[in-house]
Symmetry: C2
Subunit: 120 residues, 2 copies
């Protein structure tokens, strides 16, 4: 029978990052950490999302395993921060995947010149 197809490494990496972000809890955590570029404790997430500590712990573990966050022990707490390096890496991967997007209005340098636009 035919050999199994070998996916491009980028596709596998991207789909794995996508898998990690496919859970709302994990997406929420990453959004929180990246948005305000701040850190948080597991107990913050427990309070905010009102889910079991063990569930949060599991998701944080997965994010850590994926290299997207890193934890620093602070007494009985563990302060989790984003791993900027890998976060950027994931960002580039997705950006490349979706391709260069036409600029949005608010991103355009000069609004006037938008009126004659030839891009597809």
């Amino acid at each position: 029978m035919a050999a199994k197809f070998k996916y491009n490494e980028d596709i596998l990496e991207l789909s794995n990052f996508a898998r990690v972000m496919s859970n709302p809890v994990r997406a929420y955590i990453m959004k929180k950490l990246s948005d305000m570029n701040t850190c948080c404790y597991g107990c913050d997430i427990v309070k905010e999302l009102r889910i079991a500590p063990s569930t949060v712990s599991q998701h944080l573990k997965e994010l850590k395993y994926a290299g997207l966050i890193q934890g620093v022990t602070e007494g009985p707490f563990i302060k989790y921060c984003i791993n900027s390096e890998n976060w950027k890496e994931a960002g580039y991967l997705f950006r490349e995947f979706f391709g260069e997007l036409p600029v949005k209005k608010e991103d355009i340098c000069d609004i006037k010149s938008v009126e004659n636009n030839n891009d597809i």
Copy 2:
């Protein structure tokens, strides 16, 4: 007991797109369609990835349901093309999620390219 947390709509939308792209077959198909901005038939995917037709059909259905592709009947074939509108939308969602990344050279706002730009 505490009411269930209500996620931001963007988070839910993003994690759902992420779920869709978390499967290598689906990521492969989208990459193929978006990369060369071309179309394909289900049977192409069957041949390329060497997986069962029913499996491919299922994945195409999911992509269609997510609004990322659209099919046009062509005799016994169905030609699938990308749904640019929604693909762009997903792209923006991810771009916003990952935040503005340090500009790469080719992304730098260049008056010339903006001058001929029709896209909204």
